[in-house]
């Protein structure tokens, strides 16, 4: 059976290990076999490190991909930032022999080589393409009946679409289908596809974006926000508390990583997937619905 090398990245490893744990436990039930390898570094991040020096960014990413090539399996990512860096580098190096040659001169110094033999995909894409929504649904023992999940795609699962090739970037369906597969109700709102704004240096811009997205979720009366990226999570969980204080408002929109929702649907306890660790309390989802009963 096909095996996958997980690339959890730094944010999930150090700051949100309960997301890593949720991914590991849930995909195992679906039959996705993960093979851990040693030696990965930061992807490196697509905002600050790419801004620093794109060639260095490609090189470090290519080293990470080369390690997985040596082990002989595709990489699955669980953070949209890592997905962006590794997918973009993988495609650029596959398609541009000149660039690949330049990067390989650098990698040769440590006895490594990028060959272009594997794929990099976000875990949700692998669930859809290699397993299917039905296989996900088949692992559900406690469907999240009636739970209204406001979908937040974030940018780098879908865009740039010529790199990601996951879904229509303007009319995606993958997250909606994965939410349906666990018995919950995906909710669209005005700002479903808006960026979290994390990369902007002027803080006022992401402030307004985050408040607009959360406001748009309040309008449609969803129970929580569902997303697939730890950076977006940071912006909407801790970021919600900070911006609430700054603007003297209480937003109270629980934010949940998709694999935590999947874990609940597979019968895991809320603490088992780390829901007790969120800054914005998630208890209201249990009060309003039969989830967790």
């Amino acid at each position: 059976m096909k095996k996958y090398i997980p690339f959890f990245g730094c944010m999930m490893t150090t700051k949100y290990p309960h997301f890593e744990s949720a991914v590991r436990k849930t995909v195992a039930k679906i039959g996705m076999e993960l093979v851990d390898i040693d030696g990965f570094t930061c992807c490196p991040d697509p905002i600050y490190f790419q801004a620093r020096d794109k060639m260095q960014w490609y090189t470090i990413a290519a080293r990470n991909i080369a390690l997985a090539e040596e082990a002989g399996h595709d990489i699955i990512t669980t953070c949209s930032g890592c997905t962006a860096t590794l997918s973009e580098t993988n495609l650029a190096l596959k398609e541009d022999p000149e660039l690949r040659a330049k990067i390989n001169i650098r990698l040769a110094k440590i006895g490594r080589q990028y060959k272009g033999t594997i794929d990099v995909r976000h875990a949700v894409t692998v669930l859809r393409d290699d397993f299917g929504y039905d296989k996900v649904a088949a692992t559900v023992t406690k469907p999240l009946d009636g739970l209204k999940v406001a979908v937040h795609y974030g940018c780098h699962l879908l865009k740039p679409s010529h790199v990601m090739r996951v879904d229509d970037p303007d009319h995606p369906t993958i997250l909606e289908n994965l939410i349906k597969a666990i018995g919950a109700i995906p909710i669209h709102h005005e700002k479903t596809l808006l960026c979290c704004g994390r990369a902007c240096f002027n803080e006022e811009i992401p402030d307004k974006m985050v408040l607009d997205i959360l406001g748009s979720i309040k309008k449609v009366d969803a129970d929580c926000m569902g997303l697939i990226c730890p950076t977006c999570f940071d912006e909407f969980d801790m970021g919600q508390i900070i911006r609430g204080r700054k603007h003297h408002i209480t937003l109270d929109v629980p934010v949940i990583y998709y694999f935590q929702l999947l874990g609940l649907a597979q019968g895991m306890k809320p603490e088992e997937v780390g829901l007790n660790l969120h800054k914005v309390k998630v208890d209201r989802i249990f009060k309003r619905t039969a989830v967790g009963a």
């Binding site: 991040d45 600050y48 801004a51 865009k159 002027n202 974006m209 780390g274």
Partner: protein, 164 residues
């Protein structure tokens, strides 16, 4: 207008094609040449929606005309790009404005004209191998969850591959 002020206004908006060459030499920077100023990148740009000063079409125009002083600086508007890639989706010319903006950020860093935050954050990849460092609770939490401890990152390998 006083003669000196007039002169400086002219200087400020003098075409500077040397900048075009500079931008062409950075990864993905050459794409700015394809721009025909249609403005398709603007309408759905979230940074434009939420900040009046940000306009990807004008950023590319300034690059074409070589308004280097406005673009290559730590407080340049380019630093407010969200990196969302919507402009790349809309662009009919494959300019990929976000990639051109990243190329200009690379020039800012090379010339010491980037916000300090860029170097502060990206330096941790070289010193620690990661961007988000461990906190005091990381290992305890990983242990509670049954996850393996965080391994040392091979920063010696990183140091060797950064340059040609």
């Amino acid at each position: 207008m006083a003669e000196a002020a007039k002169q400086s206004a002219i200087e400020k908006h003098k075409l500077n094609f040397a900048f075009r060459d500079r931008l062409n030499s950075v990864a993905e920077g050459f794409r700015h040449n394809y721009c025909y100023q249609c403005g398709a990148c603007v309408a759905d740009c979230p940074a434009s929606m939420y900040s009046k000063g940000f306009n990807p079409r004008l950023i590319i125009l300034k690059a074409l005309l070589g308004f280097e002083d406005e673009l290559i600086r730590a407080d340049s508007e380019i630093w407010n790009c969200t990196n969302c890639y919507t402009c790349s989706e809309r662009c009919p010319q494959e300019v990929r404005p976000v990639d051109v903006i990243i190329a200009m950020k690379n020039i800012c860093v090379a010339e010491g004209k980037a916000p300090a935050l860029v170097r502060n954050i990206s330096d941790t990849v070289l010193t620690d191998g990661i961007t988000t460092r461990k906190t005091s609770v990381t290992e305890r939490r990983r242990q509670e969850l049954g996850l393996s401890p965080v391994k040392d990152y091979p920063i010696d390998e990183i140091a060797k591959i950064l340059k040609d």
